[in-house]
């Protein structure tokens, strides 16, 4: 019985490693096959390649209150530059999550180049909108809009570039 289990484990680990190798190339048929890898059991080892992040991305939103747009509010967590971040860096979770959503939006934007408005149906747009819509709002707010802006360098004076501007969405009270 023990030797059968040994063989089964050998087969599982061999198949798993083989699948991991194929996953690095991610051919289309493979992507369709493993679309629901919920637990990330198939690794993707590209680490900052081929095009590493070379800008900070920020999710911002603004409200239309009593007919006028209010100031933009930053939603994304700030990067941690503390001296202990090599050991303790909890903020990387929300930052990475926001980046995942933004990168998803970028990919959807590229895929839907010919019908740009359909992006509002993409998962990442819906996820970002859900996050933005969940923030508290003042009385008199009728619409909310979000944007993705990018920046380079450090400090509050650095210039920002607009990467994406959402539709204006009506909010329910």
């Amino acid at each position: 019985m023990a030797s059968i289990w040994n063989y089964i484990v050998a087969v599982i680990l061999s198949l798993w490693f083989g699948a991991s190798v194929i996953h690095q190339f991610s051919p289309n048929w493979w992507c369709r096959l493993v679309r629901s890898d919920l637990f990330g059991l198939l690794p993707h080892w590209s680490f900052f390649a081929p095009n590493p992040a070379h800008e900070d991305t920020h999710v911002v939103y603004r409200d239309l209150q009593n007919g006028e747009w209010c100031a933009w509010i930053v939603l994304t967590a700030r990067g941690n530059r503390g001296r202990w971040r090599w050991f303790w860096n909890p903020n990387r979770y929300p930052r990475k999550a926001a980046n995942d959503l933004i990168n998803g939006l970028r990919r959807s934007g590229q895929k839907l180049e010919h019908s740009p408005r359909s992006i509002i149906l993409s998962n990442s747009y819906v996820g970002l909108l859900q996050w933005v819509a969940a923030q508290s709002r003042n009385p008199g707010v009728t619409h909310r809009q979000f944007a993705i802006v990018t920046s380079n360098g450090f400090g509050s004076e650095r210039p920002l570039d607009l990467l994406f501007l959402s539709e204006s969405h009506r909010v329910d009270h």
Binding site: L38, W45, W88, N123
Partner: protein, 267 residues
């Protein structure tokens, strides 16, 4: 000839991985507010990404999330103290693996390569020790973990080599010029010495691409490569704040050493 016991290697790998996973779980507890109504991991937000409806049962997973994090912390501490071969350690590794997957399912986004290699390490160790540890399955798990590390470095190296941005050599300066991953003083140094920046990016590419060859060489070469790898992860943690990679990847090095001893004719 250098002989390294695969069981000792797997035990070391599992304990170090558990240290990294423990820190990661504590970090997640720190940002638990992000799992609330207004956070980036809010239940409604994640459900919209999955396209789940209210009847999907995801509410139940959500209710368990923080408790699951707590249980996983206890499991990792037990694993660090007991190792994977004691009965309590086996229970701990099973619990840790289960909790880990519940949390990943609940969180969906915000994961990275360090999480993935830790998941693979725990899964392979679990298969080696359940229902009871067997030398054959320990060897298989050690080979699997070592092979995944080699695959990760070589894939990352080849992908970087195929990228003009990386080959041009200014990539580190561009990454460091961000609040998320950089530090102003490093950008200043790299801008002042652009050749150093080019040299460093090529060093990363060459190190990762040639990792398998280095491992197949004499033992001093393999240990040199692993020392370089450890230095690389330490530098990445200090300069870029990617702290979990410092635990997750070097944790697998004991398994890589065993694999090196098996595949290299020079050891």
């Amino acid at each position: 000839m250098l002989i390294i016991d695969p069981s000792a290697a797997l035990e070391a790998t599992t304990r170090i991985s558990a240290c990294g996973a423990l820190i990661a779980s504590l970090e997640m507890i720190t940002v638990r507010r992000e799992f609330g109504e207004h956070g980036v991991f809010s239940r409604a937000g994640i459900m919209s990404l999955y396209r789940y409806d209210e009847k999907s049962g995801f509410k139940f997973v959500d209710k368990l999330a923080i408790a699951t994090l707590g249980i996983s912390i206890v499991s990792y501490i037990t694993l660090i103290l007991q190792g994977p071969f004691q009965p309590l350690g086996v229970i701990a590794i099973m619990t840790a693996f289960l909790c880990r997957n519940i949390i990943l399912w609940r969180r969906l986004i915000g994961g990275d390569g360090a999480e993935q290699i830790t998941t693979l390490t725990l899964a392979a160790t679990l298969l080696a020790v359940v229902p009871e540890p067997s030398p054959q399955r320990i060897n298989l798990a050690v080979s699997f973990i070592g092979a995944q590390l080699i695959l990760s470095y070589v894939t990352a190296g080849i992908t970087k080599f195929s990228s003009p941005v990386w080959r041009r050599g200014d990539v580190l300066c561009r990454i460091m010029d961000t609040e998320t991953y950089g530090q102003p003083w490093i950008v200043a140094v790299l801008r002042r010495f652009p050749r150093v920046a080019t040299m460093l990016s090529w060093l990363v590419i060459l190190f990762q691409c040639s990792f398998l060859l280095l491992l197949a060489g004499p033992s001093w070469m393999a240990f040199g490569a692993l020392a370089l790898g450890l230095g690389f992860h330490l530098a990445v943690a200090v300069t870029m704040g990617i702290n979990n990679f410092l635990w997750a990847f070097p944790a697998t090095y004991p398994c890589v050493v065993v694999l090196g001893a098996w595949i290299s004719p020079f050891w």
